[in-house]
Symmetry: C2
Subunit: 472 residues, 2 copies
C-alpha cells in the first residue's frame, strides 16, 4: 500500500486529508473491498502524524460506511464501496455494511446473544393495542385538510399539547410557536447543525458524547472542542477562553454515556459562559423522564429560553420506530429552522402527529411513563445487584440515577476490541465508552450496559456470562 | 437605504453577494420588518447588475422566509427575521411568514376562495377507513423488533413490494436493495443534493422547474444551468458542451409545470449526453400514474439503471400528509445514500411503512389509482370544456395528458403580480409559471391550474370568476 503524503501547509486538517485519500482510493477500487487497513498506530508512525489524527479519519470513514471494524481482527474496507463496480451482480454485496446502530438482529451463533445495547426501551411493552385503536379513530375522524400538505413546524394540535406537557413535566418554558416537530431527535440535531454551523465554526461538546453527533458536526466543517465530563457532567471550569463557539452541546439531565446530572452551579457557569461568548446552548434531553432518585431534573432551557435550544424525543419513552422528536427554538431561530425543515422534507407525517397528540392529551403518556419507570427501576436495581454479586468491589457503577443504561467501570480491565470480540463470541454484547470518546484512554475501563429491553432473566444470564470471562 | 457595492472580482457569485448582504441586514435589523424592498428593476439599475441577478437573490430570500411578496404592492421584509429581537413578545409576530406552499387556509374574505393549487389530490377521497383498519391491524400484529430502531433504507417488506410494483407499473428495473424509503420526495431530492453536490458542481435542470428545487440545489453552492423545455419536455438539443454536470434533473413523464412527456429520441439523447459527460440523471416521477391518453410512459430509469436515480412519491397517488417517498439508486450510490439518511434522521417511521406495504400488497393501491384516475380524467375534461367555453381560441391548453394539473396560456394576457392579486381578490387563486422559471418572459402568459382536489361545481365557478376578470 502506498500513501499520499500529507500536506501540512494546506489549509485542510490532516485528518480530513487522510480521510479523503482513503475515501478516494476506496471509491476507485484502489483499496479493494475486504482489504485490511493498517492499524492506527502503524499508519500514524508511517505518516508521522499523531494517532488521534488517524483515529479521527478512520472514525469518519467508519461512520460513512467506507470501512468496518471486525472485533479483534482489525479494520477492513467495507463491501459495496467501489463506485465503478456498478454491475447489478455486485449489488447483493453492497448491502452488507450498514450503519452500526441499524442492525436489526445478529448473525446466528452458538448461543443466542444477550445484547446490552443502550437506548432501547422495552419494545414488547409498547402500548400497541391502544395506539392502534387511537390511530384507527384519528384516520377516520381527521378533517380532509389534514390529508394535504402541512406546515414545516408540524401540527398545531401536537405542538400545543407538547408545550403544556413539557412545561409541567420538564420545566421547559415555551410557546407552541417555538416548537418544531422533527423525525426523531437525530433530525433535530442535523437541522441545528445546518442552521448554526456556517463557515468556520467552533463547537464545544462533552467528551465523551454519542459518536454519530461528532460526525454530524464535523461533516459541515465545524471544529469540535471536547470538554471532559466527570460524574457530574461537563466540567464547566474547563470551558476555554478566547473562542466564540456557535454552540455548546450538552446532555445535562443525563450525560451520555457517563450518566452525570449537571449540578446547578455548572448550569449557571455554562449559561454565563454562553452569554459572554455569544453562543447558543443545545440541550439534548433524550431520556430524563426516567429519573429514579427524585423527580426529573428541570431543563436547562427553563433557565435561559432565549439562548437554549432544547431537543427531545419519544424514542425512549415510547418507541424509536415512531421517529418522533422535536426541538424548541429561541424565537429568533424559529423562522430559519422552519425554512430549513421545509427544504429538507417539508414536514413530519401529519396523522401520526395527531395520534401522538391524542395519546398525550388523554393521559396515556403519563401513565405509560409511570408504568415503565417502575419496570426500569426494577431492572436497574436487579442489574446493579447482579453486577455487585458477580464483581463485588471490582466494579464501579456510574450514571444509574436516570435513564435506561448505566456505565460499569472495571478495575484493571481494558475493553480492547479484542476483549469485546471475545465477550461477543461468548454470547453477550456490551458497548465500550471509548467509541464515543475523544480522550479514549481515560474511558478504556468502562462499558455501557443498556437494560431497558432485557428481562431480569436475561440480565442475570448476561452478567453471568460476562463475569465468567472477566474474572478469568 | 444604502447598499454594499458588489465585488466583481471576488469568487462569490453576484446574486449570492446581494443575497448575503440582504440577509445580514435583515438579521441585524438594519432593514426593518415590514420595510419595503426596492423593485428588482430599481435595484438592478442602481447596482449596475442584470435584473436576473437581483431576481435570483430575491428568490433565495423569499424561499428562506426573509422576505415576502404582497401581490401588487411589492416585496417586504418578513416578520420575525430580526435575529436580536429575542424578547418573547416578538414571538407571535415571528410565525406569520411561513414557506409559501405551507399555508393551510386562506384569510377570511368576501367569498370563499377557489384554489386551483397544483399537486393536491382529492383529499376527501383518501381511503381513510381502510387505512385505519390496516393500521390498527399492523400495530397489533407487528413483531416487537419493528418497534426498535430500523435500518436507514427502510423496511424490507415495503422495499420488496415497491420494487415489484414499480417493475410492473412503471418499467423500473431495480432490486429492493437499491430502494431507500424517504420522508416524501423532497427528502429524496435533498439527500441526492447532499450526496452528489460536493465542492463546485454543475447541475443541468429543466426551465421551468419547481422553484424549491432551485433553492435546494443552489444552497449547497451548485451552479444551475437551465435548459428550456417545450411541449415535449427538456430540449435536449440544447444540452451544453464543455461541462461535466454532476447530474441532470428531469421530470420526463410529466414535465413540471409545463406538462410535456419526453419522447424517446430525447431520452436517448439525454442518456448519451450523460454517458459522455459522466453525469447522473435524476428522474423525478411525481404523478405519472395518472396518464389519460394511454398507459403511463415507461421510466427513464429502465433505460439505464446504472446512471439514473429515480425519485417517486405517494403524495399524489395517496396523500402528501403520509410523507412517503423513495429513491432508487444505482448500486454504486447505495451505501453512501444510506449513511447520509442515517445521519439525517436515522430512518423513516417503521410501522407506517408496514401499513403502506400491506396496502400495496393487498391490491388496494391499484384499485385506488384506477378509481382516482377515472375521477381526475372527468375533472380534467370538465375543466377543459369550461376553459374552452369561457375563452374559446384565446386559451391554449398544455400538459393535460397526465397528472392533476394543466397549464393554460392566454393570448395577450400577462400574469403580473398585480393581475394575480386582483384575481385572488375576486375569489380565485391560480399559479403563475414564472415563479418556477429562469426565463420568466416566455412564461408570463401561462398559469398552472390544479384540479385534483376540486369538484366540478367549484371548477365551473372558478373558471367563471376567472373569465369575468380576464375578458374585461
Amino acid at each position: 500500500m502506498t500513501w499520499t503524503v500529507v500536506d501540512r501547509e494546506s489549509g485542510t486538517p490532516l485528518f480530513r486529508q487522510i480521510y479523503e485519500s482513503f475515501r478516494r482510493r476506496i471509491l476507485q477500487g484502489e483499496l479493494e473491498e475486504g482489504e485490511r487497513l493498517p492499524s492506527t498506530r502503524e499508519l500514524a508512525s508511517s505518516l508521522q502524524v499523531s494517532r488521534t489524527v488517524i483515529v479521527e479519519a478512520y472514525e469518519q470513514l467508519l461512520a460513512e460506511g467506507y470501512i468496518e471494524g471486525r472485533h479483534g481482527s482489525g479494520t477492513f474496507v467495507a463491501e459495496g464501496t467501489h463506485l465503478l463496480q456498478a454491475a447489478p451482480a455486485g449489488l447483493a454485496r453492497s448491502v452488507s455494511a450498514v450503519p452500526p446502530q441499524s442492525f436489526e438482529g445478529a448473525p446466528a451463533r452458538k448461543r443466542e446473544l444477550i445484547d446490552f445495547r443502550h437506548g432501547i426501551p422495552a419494545l414488547d411493552l409498547f402500548p400497541r393495542k391502544l395506539w392502534g385503536e387511537l390511530a384507527k379513530r384519528i384516520w377516520a375522524d381527521a378533517s380532509a385538510e389534514a390529508f394535504g400538505y402541512g406546515r414545516p413546524e408540524g401540527r398545531h394540535e401536537l405542538r400545543s399539547v407538547l408545550a403544556r406537557y413539557l412545561r409541567r413535566s420538564r420545566g421547559v418554558v415555551c410557546e407552541p410557536e417555538q416548537l418544531l416537530v422533527t423525525t426523531g431527535a437525530t433530525q433535530a440535531i442535523s437541522l441545528i447543525a445546518k442552521l448554526l454551523l456556517t463557515g468556520k465554526s467552533d463547537v464545544l461538546m462533552e467528551d465523551p458524547l454519542t459518536y454519530e453527533i461528532h460526525t454530524m458536526f464535523s461533516l459541515p466543517g465545524a471544529k469540535l472542542h471536547p470538554i471532559p465530563v466527570d460524574e457530574s457532567g461537563m466540567m464547566t471550569e474547563l470551558l476555554p477562553a478566547g473562542i466564540h463557539p456557535k454552540f455548546i452541546y450538552v446532555t445535562p439531565s443525563h450525560q451520555f454515556p457517563i450518566g452525570g446530572v449537571l449540578p446547578i452551579q455548572r448550569r449557571v457557569q455554562l449559561i454565563q459562559y454562553a452569554a459572554r461568548t455569544g453562543s447558543y446552548i443545545v440541550e439534548d434531553d433524550y431520556d430524563s423522564e426516567f429519573r429514579y432518585e427524585s423527580a426529573p431534573v428541570s431543563s436547562l432551557q427553563g433557565l435561559d429560553p432565549e439562548r437554549v435550544v432544547y431537543i427531545g424525543t419519544f424514542s425512549k419513552i415510547l418507541s424509536p420506530a415512531l421517529r418522533m422528536g422535536y426541538v424548541i427554538l429561541p424565537p429568533s431561530l424559529v423562522q430559519n429552522a422552519r425554512s430549513l425543515k421545509w427544504l429538507t422534507d417539508l414536514h413530519t407525517p401529519s396523522l401520526e402527529q395527531l395520534v401522538l397528540a391524542e395519546f398525550i392529551e388523554e393521559g396515556h403518556l403519563d401513565r405509560h411513563i409511570a408504568k415503565m419507570k417502575k419496570l426500569y427501576r426494577k431492572r436497574r436495581d436487579f442489574l446493579i445487584r447482579q453486577l455487585r454479586h458477580a464483581f463485588g468491589e471490582a466494579v464501579n457503577i456510574l450514571g444509574h440515577s436516570t435513564g435506561i443504561h448505566l456505565v460499569a467501570e472495571f478495575a484493571g480491565i481494558s475493553f480492547t476490541p479484542k476483549l469485546l470480540s471475545v465477550i461477543e463470541d461468548n454470547g453477550v454484547k456490551v458497548y465500550p465508552v471509548t467509541v464515543h470518546a475523544f480522550r479514549k484512554d481515560v474511558q478504556k475501563r468502562r462499558i455501557i450496559i443498556g437494560y431497558g429491553n432485557l428481562s431480569e432473566e436475561r440480565i442475570a444470564e448476561g452478567i453471568r456470562r460476562l463475569s465468567e470471562l472477566l474474572k478469568k
